[in-house]
Amino acid sequence: MTAAKAEKPIITLDGVTRSFGSVQALRGVSAEIREGEFFSLLGPSGCGKTTLLRMIAGFDEPTTGTITLDGKPMAGIAANHRPTNMVFQSYAIFPHLSVADNVGYGLKKKRLPKAEYDREVEEALKMVSLGGYGPRAAHTLSGGQRQRVAIGRAIVREPQVFLFDEPLSNLDAELRVEMRVEIARLHKEIGATMIYVTHDQVEAMTLADKIVVLRGGVIEQVGAPMDLYRDPDNKFVAGFIGSPAMNFLSAVVKDGLVDVPGLETSVDLPVTLPAEGTAVEIGLRPEHLTLDPRGTTHRIEMTESLGGVSYAYLKGTSGEKIVVEERCEIRSTEGDTVGLILDAASARLFDAASETRIR
């Protein structure tokens, strides 16, 4: 990706809101999507991510605010006149047409000579690894193959922006990984801007150049995947990104230190602490904690061994639960009593009331 290309914003969202009756699905979303970027809209169900995607596609209009695509305001421009193409969650393959007719559907308007039309369709089919499938009836395909047809159908249109609406959510786990790699490869090959809606943070982390985390119709944070992971703005983003999720322990500011009753310790954190006595929460990722066999604060309730890595599920004397990652040779067993050693530099501190990050 060249630097000049990445500088140009292709889609600008400015204060976009959408209300359905008294329900506010989006409450003022502003963002810039740059050309060639793989941009992911991530959030739990009901956060407004699909609503936003449908407004970019032209199936819906913002209640207030504007969407600008390639310098042109999109208000009043219907989906069939926008340089975007969508890959639907349900694939939306036309069941009465062949695979080739599905892929060539969007080409019919161009009135290409037959040879050229056939060539473009076959080329798109090859790109999605379905070369030679053209004459097959679309309804005979498996879920993964339908997904490929849906992507091929968008490819022939050569859209400026590809829109994906939770494209992998209807596939089984194995196919999902396969298609994820495939979509990443396509993005490299085509280089077009892609907007990808998902509730699965693993998909967003592995695919996206940039992630927007949405909750309740509001942007919680925008950034590169690892930036969100390392430097979350608030407790929601910190907890949503990463698997297993970040551990949160309640703490309080005392004598210029952060007192964590759950760990029976006080920590000196390199942040600007709020006033004495403020209730805070300390966030610790499973890989930033180490078990201390000499300690007695926690009991191991369960261990989950995945081979290269194990996760120990701990319960403290205060009742708070913690997940710890173990990678060393000697690992803990269920029923062990242990203590915890934390890496203060990688701990994140949040205000308990507002849930915003304290830096």
Binding site: H81, Y105, H139, A150
Partner: protein, 275 residues
């Protein structure tokens, strides 16, 4: 379990009686249509095709048949078109008083036909309109639209909305989307609706009897013939032909329905159909 065989016998008996009750009158039609006697009674006298050939040169019958075809074809097309609009609106959109409106549209299903016929006649008289085939068509459309909506409702409900959105997204216009996606996918429902409304209109008597002018439809013609016992075997022959026509229509409809279900990847035997 011990009761099994006995229970089965009982059910078999019930089913047999039921079938006889249903189909005995229908089977009598062709039998008497070929019987060489003007009296409709056993024992049969002899074989003849005289009644069929008499149909060939009965111009009043031909006129009535022509009228019925005009009425039934017009009714089928108009009510299917109106039914498609209503079914789509009912399935796809939300609007105020939707349940009430849809309920009122479906009301003629349960309203006694004689009431509809009489009130339509009174209304038309008040408006000073003369009775013609068009008034019959109007009456038939009124009773056929609910059937059409019922059939097309399931066709539209089974249509994934994102298919139309996908077509639109791929650069097609609303009309193009209808032509290339919506219509092919609801076609089986449209054919069912056309056949059902055509059949209902073709054999409808009460409304046609009240609203017809000088041009009578086939059922009204048949009813008028019943007053003359000598004409009865001719009616039997006519009934036989109509029976054959209905069976052929149903077979054709089912054939198309299964083929279209197959093309859409559905199991034809498990999907709802005419048969």
């Amino acid at each position: 379990m011990a009761k099994g065989p006995k229970k089965l016998d009982w059910l078999r008996g019930y089913a047999s009686i039921y079938m006889v009750f249903l189909y005995a009158p229908v089977i009598l039609l062709p039998i008497f249509a070929f019987n060489n006697s003007t009296v409709i009674a056993f024992p049969l006298k002899g074989f003849t095709t005289e009644w069929f050939s008499s149909l060939m040169d009965n111009s009043a019958l031909h006129d009535a048949l022509g009228n019925s075809m005009i009425v039934a074809v017009s009714t089928a097309m108009i009510s299917t078109l109106l039914g498609a609009f209503a079914a789509r609106a009912g399935v796809r959109y939300r609007f105020p008083a939707k349940r009430g409106i849809m309920g009122l549209i479906l009301l003629p299903l349960v309203l006694p036909e004689i009431i509809i016929a009489v009130s339509l006649l009174v209304l038309l008289m008040r408006l000073g309109m003369s009775l013609s085939l068009w008034t019959v068509i109007a009456g038939h459309v009124l009773v056929c639209v609910p059937f059409s909506i019922a059939v097309l409702n399931s066709a539209f409900a089974g249509l994934d909305q994102s298919l139309e959105e996908a077509s639109f997204d791929l650069g097609e216009t609303s009309w193009g989307t209808f032509k290339r996606v919506t219509f092919p996918l609801i076609l089986p429902g449209v054919i069912s609706s056309l056949l059902i409304t055509f059949t209902i209109s073709l054999d409808e008597f009460i409304i046609a009897f009240f609203l017809t002018g000088t041009d009578v439809t086939l059922p009204v013609y048949i009813w008028s013939q019943l007053r003359f016992p000598a004409k009865l075997p001719g009616v039997m022959a006519l009934g036989t032909l109509l029976l054959l026509l209905s069976i052929t229509l149903l077979i054709v409809a089912e054939f198309f329905r299964r083929r279209s279900a197959q093309r859409r990847g559905l199991d034809a035997s498990t999907t709802e159909g005419l048969i």
